[in-house]
């Protein structure tokens, strides 16, 4: 509707508030446009409208020591035009054998792009103020990393990433059609960032020396460890016997070796390559820029951590347990 009303101009300008105001000069037209905007705020033809915006991620302090609270600037994909970015980008969802359309508007002051790893190949830069449309075919159920691939990983490191989850059609609780079944599903998007050498430099317009990368903050679904360990949507909490499908996306630049307490899990796919025989593991190395899917069945009651088994990745800038972590809670 709103697309139709405002489609006299170029498609790309419709998502922006400024040309929109220019277009709706007459009061009548404005009224129509506003009505359309209210009744269908993202009534693009696209299934998803993403907006590249700036924002922040808030790291909370360790309740043990009181150390570590900080606000860090990020750039990311949001679903609100003019919204505030946070981590990770908007979740995209599709079904096996289907497709989605995504329209990405760049409201940031430098060029970016939008690439779904393994599914799209259009790496064209979207200039500031411009919009670009994508059709993404999703033949294979799994979990995919989308990101800005420009600027030698700097843009992704600043937060321009998210996940696309592809499920079997019909709402069946299986990893893929005919694949292993589960009771609950979780998505873990993890990333690392080097605040002093990358984030702060790039965010203030400087040139990052990409030969040096020493990430000092680590996030689980955009949260520091203490936040994530209290987040019901992240934790594996349920009854003994329940199986979780955990889709893991490492959007960072450091390989992360995730160790689960409580019991072993089954690794069923790595980077959307399905294992011919699933492997029992208690630690999975999810390499930078790759994904994995595991099945974790709660085998015994109790409280168990999931953490990365790697020095600084257990911390947020040295503050213990503020790195990549989650809780496993079995009743």
């Amino acid at each position: 509707m709103w697309y139709g009303v405002c489609s006299l101009g170029e498609v790309g300008s419709c998502g922006s508030w400024i040309p929109y105001k220019k277009f709706c000069r007459s009061f009548l037209k404005l009224l129509v446009c506003v009505l359309a905007f209210i009744t269908s705020p993202i009534s693009w033809a696209a299934d998803y409208n993403l907006f590249i915006e700036t924002g922040t991620v808030n790291v909370s302090a360790s309740p043990e020591t009181g150390n570590g609270a900080i606000t860090i600037p990020v750039w990311s994909y949001t679903d609100v035009n003019g919204g505030t970015a946070t981590l990770p980008g908007t979740l995209l969802e599709s079904v096996e054998g289907g497709s989605i359309t995504v329209s990405v508007r760049n409201n940031h002051n430098r060029s970016h792009n939008f690439v779904v790893q393994g599914l799209t190949s259009d790496t064209t830069a979207i200039q500031p103020g411009q919009t670009r449309n994508y059709t993404i075919n999703t033949p294979t159920a799994g979990v995919y990393l989308y990101s800005d691939t420009l600027n030698s990983n700097v843009n992704r490191a600043l937060g321009l990433f998210g996940a696309l989850v592809v499920r079997p059609s019909g709402g069946v609780k299986r990893a893929w059609t005919g694949g292993p079944s589960f009771n609950q599903e979780r998505l873990w998007v993890i990333n690392d960032l080097d605040k002093p050498r990358w984030t702060d430099v790039a965010n203030s317009g400087g040139t990052v020396n990409t030969s040096v990368y020493k990430p000092n903050y680590f996030f689980m679904n955009g949260m520091n460890g203490f936040q994530a360990m209290g987040d019901a949507a992240t934790n594996l909490e349920g009854s003994v016997g329940e199986t979780f499908l955990v889709r893991i996306v490492n959007a960072g630049q450091f390989d992360q070796s995730l160790h689960f307490h409580g019991n072993h899990f089954l690794t069923i796919s790595r980077n959307n390559t399905r294992l011919t025989t699933f492997e029992w593991q208690d630690t999975i190395n999810v390499k930078a820029g790759t994904t994995a899917m595991v099945l974790y069945t709660l085998e015994q009651p109790g409280h168990y951590p999931m953490h990365v088994h790697t020095a600084q990745l257990e911390t947020g800038n040295g503050v213990y347990l503020n790195g990549t972590a989650a809780m496993i809670i079995a009743h």
Partner: protein, 349 residues
């Protein structure tokens, strides 16, 4: 009383210490061969092998002089009641614990004289890593474990036959790095894995790395925000070349050797075996993280990431030679290598 620290400077020191410990043969063995008699450890270090059904561990400081002459202070678990007391028997890595399927582990941690950090990271625990024990035995302070000493009681089923680990879970970013780790092996006779084939010799290799800055920093220091390994170890030893291996293992020709890789390092690693002519020898992976693969994988290279374990086996040729099992440590960003980041060992047969 002040805790005595001591330095291990030579193999001789270790052997003297071992001779003292060996007075108790029930709880002490050297690299026991599975069924076919003892393999030989030597040329590096020998780590005590203790029966986990009834063992008491304490925590001790241990100063090591590294290959560049620098001294690094470690904390290790030691057999016995009181912090090693400056006597022999404390090793890096900590002792190997063994448990048979169907047996019950009783591992006591005695905190007398233990070196430790200030609150809130005081005390120590034992986390049976990969053994999937109940919360009460898991050694995680944040889920209720005591940091002032405890007895860890658990048993495991046959799925767990193979290599696991144990380590302190207090302020793990520091305490693991300090040396508070060891191999934990679940045994079913000399089967390498649940339902798997038997071996004639077993060789535990605990992989670890050392960033000396982590050994002096404490609390929520920003030192722990960046990991810069300087020393690369197998069984606590640097092995900078095939001529100066971290450890030499001796076995008979034609026999099967199980090699247990226990990844306690904080960077990526790749295990390979170079033969005398310089090419890479194939080996077969039976277990990952102490659970049997449904089909063993024969490869010439295997990655062991932080926290992972792997049980592999080789069958030795019928004529005498030497092989050089080696671990190459790699950085987490792009798998790039480190200078001196390959640790060589030697297998004589």
């Amino acid at each position: 009383m002040k805790l005595n620290q001591y330095s291990i400077r030579s193999c001789a020191t270790i052997l003297v210490a071992l001779a003292a410990l060996s007075a108790n043969p029930m709880t002490m063995a050297m690299h026991r061969g599975g069924g076919g008699g003892g393999g030989g450890g030597g040329g590096g270090t020998t780590i005590p092998v203790l029966n986990a059904t009834n063992v008491s561990l304490s925590v001790s400081s241990l100063t090591r002089t590294m290959s560049d002459g620098q001294n690094v202070n470690f904390w290790v678990f030691c057999q016995g009641g009181m912090g090693g007391m400056g006597g022999g028997g404390c090793t890096l890595p900590s002792p190997v614990l063994e448990l048979g399927v169907g047996q019950t582990a009783n591992v006591s941690l005695n905190m007398m004289m233990a070196p430790q950090e200030p609150s809130p990271y005081n005390g120590h625990t034992i986390h049976p890593h990969g053994l999937d024990v109940p919360t009460s035995e898991d050694g995680v302070p944040e889920t209720g474990a005591s940091v002032n000493g405890d007895t860890y009681t658990f048993s495991v089923d046959s799925r767990y036959v193979g290599s696991h680990a144990y380590h302190c879970h207090v302020h793990t970013v520091k305490h693991l790095e300090m040396g508070m780790y060891g191999a934990f092996i679940v045994k079913d006779g000399n089967r390498i894995s649940s339902g798997g084939p038997t071996y004639d010799y077993e060789w535990n290799m605990v992989l670890s790395t050392v960033d000396p800055a982590y050994h002096t920093a404490t609390g929520d220091s920003t030192v722990f925000a960046d990991y810069n390994p300087r020393y690369y170890l197998v069984n606590g030893q640097e092995g900078l070349s095939t001529g100066a291996p971290a450890e030499t293992f001796t076995a008979a020709t034609g026999k099967k050797v199980a090699i247990r890789l226990i990844g306690m390092q904080s960077v990526n690693s790749t295990f390979r075996i170079r033969n005398a002519s310089g090419s890479y020898q194939s080996f077969t992976i039976y277990n990952k993280d102490g659970f049997a693969l449904s089909s063993p994988q024969t490869v010439t290279s295997a990655d062991v990431s932080p926290g992972q374990t792997m049980d592999v086996m080789v069958t030795l040729p019928s004529s005498s030679s030497s092989w050089y099992p080696q671990v190459t440590y790699k950085n987490l960003r792009n798998g790039g290598s480190y200078s001196n980041g390959t640790v060589y060992t030697r297998l004589n047969f």
